[in-house]
């Protein structure tokens, strides 16, 4: 078997970039077809293909790293840069929605009554469920750090417990937020207040779900002995992502829930 004279990872040919691209094609075209002809088939097919692609692509990365040993220090460095750049792009994504919020709220138009919150909007009390949500996410930041230290110290059971607690806190946040959405006295259709509120908090909620899923995968991997005390980058990436989700919430809470109320 030929051996490489370098520490980098030359990946096997893979079908997943193609299936992923086709999934994107199906989801976008499907979205247009759904909007015009009320048929969800194409979009749903795209979603299924996306899930299949993500499952198999990330499964293959776990095989390459954990089972084949391809994630040498230089390769891991590249993965770190990659995750940092991805999170940075997500920061810019949210920046746009914060820009929209401040654009409308710092100079409220006469149509809104020249004030923020606009006339007719009953805002949520920032010191009720939103404050609880803040405490929940901050606590989950502590538990995920506990999990990291447990992994680094080789404490298998504690790592599993603290990681499980982190995920449960994430689910609790999602459940509380879903309840808030249901009970809110305003909707996304209630002018620019409704739009900025639900688009910003809605995308945040989606990221909480994504982050919880990433952490859940890490929990399964920790249970299956994938992580060692000095090599567990998948977990670190999930923890970075989770801290990012927490920080976005803090900005949302301060700007939209508190200052905007």
């Amino acid at each position: 078997m030929a051996h490489q004279a370098h520490a980098y990872h030359m990946v096997d040919p893979s079908p997943w970039p193609l299936t992923g691209a086709v999934a994107a094609l199906l989801m976008t075209s499907g979205l247009a077809i759904w909007m015009h002809f009320h048929n969800m088939t194409l979009m749903s097919l795209g979603l299924i293909l996306l899930l299949l692609t993500m499952y198999q692509w990330w499964r293959d990365i776990i095989r390459e790293g954990t089972f084949q040993g391809h994630h040498t220090p230089p390769v891991q460095k590249g993965l770190r840069y990659g995750m940092i750049l991805f999170i940075t792009s997500e920061v810019f994504f949210f920046l746009g929605f914060f820009w929209a919020f401040y654009h409308s709220s710092l100079a409220p138009t006469p149509e809104l009554g020249g004030c923020w919150p606009p006339i007719g909007i009953t805002t949520l009390n920032p010191f009720e469920v939103p404050l609880l949500n803040t405490a929940v996410l901050l606590a989950s930041g502590v538990t995920v750090t506990w999990a990291h230290h447990s992994i680094m110290e080789g404490q298998r059971k504690q790592a599993i417990q603290s990681l499980t607690l982190t995920i449960l806190l994430g689910f609790y946040f999602t459940a509380l937020q879903a309840m808030e959405y249901y009970e809110a006295p305003f909707t996304i259709a209630d002018g620019v207040y409704g739009s900025t509120f639900f688009v910003a908090t809605g995308f945040h909620g989606l990221h909480v779900i994504i982050g919880s899923t990433f952490l859940a995968v890490c929990l399964l991997r920790q249970a299956q002995y994938h992580f060692t005390s000095d090599h567990h980058f998948g977990f670190e990436a999930a923890a970075w992502y989770w801290h990012f989700v927490d920080v976005v919430w803090l900005f949302l809470y301060i700007s939209i829930y508190w200052w905007g109320s």
Partner: protein, 82 residues
């Protein structure tokens, strides 16, 4: 009485057996399987279930492209109004 003790003993036995069920460390086996020099690419190296899932995904991919082109061409022509 005695029946109560028997139930307690049974409860204790079942709790013990579930606590003893540990997840086995299968990483060394997996490492051996995935480092075997059999020329299989990573996305098929896990066995026949890999091939099944791959084939299913590819079928959806090809059908999906066809379906998309069909829907887009159909949408490009004037729709018959009822």
């Amino acid at each position: 009485g005695r029946r109560h003790t028997a139930v307690q003993q049974m409860a204790r036995r079942s709790i013990c057996s579930s606590a003893r069920r540990q997840v086995e460390n299968k990483v060394p086996q997996k490492q051996k399987m995935f480092q075997e020099d059999n020329g299989m690419p990573i996305h098929l190296k896990g066995g026949s279930s890999d091939a099944l899932l791959y084939r299913a995904t590819m079928v959806l991919t090809v059908l999906g492209v066809g379906f998309t082109l069909y829907e887009l061409v159909k949408a490009s022509f004037p729709q018959k109004k009822d």
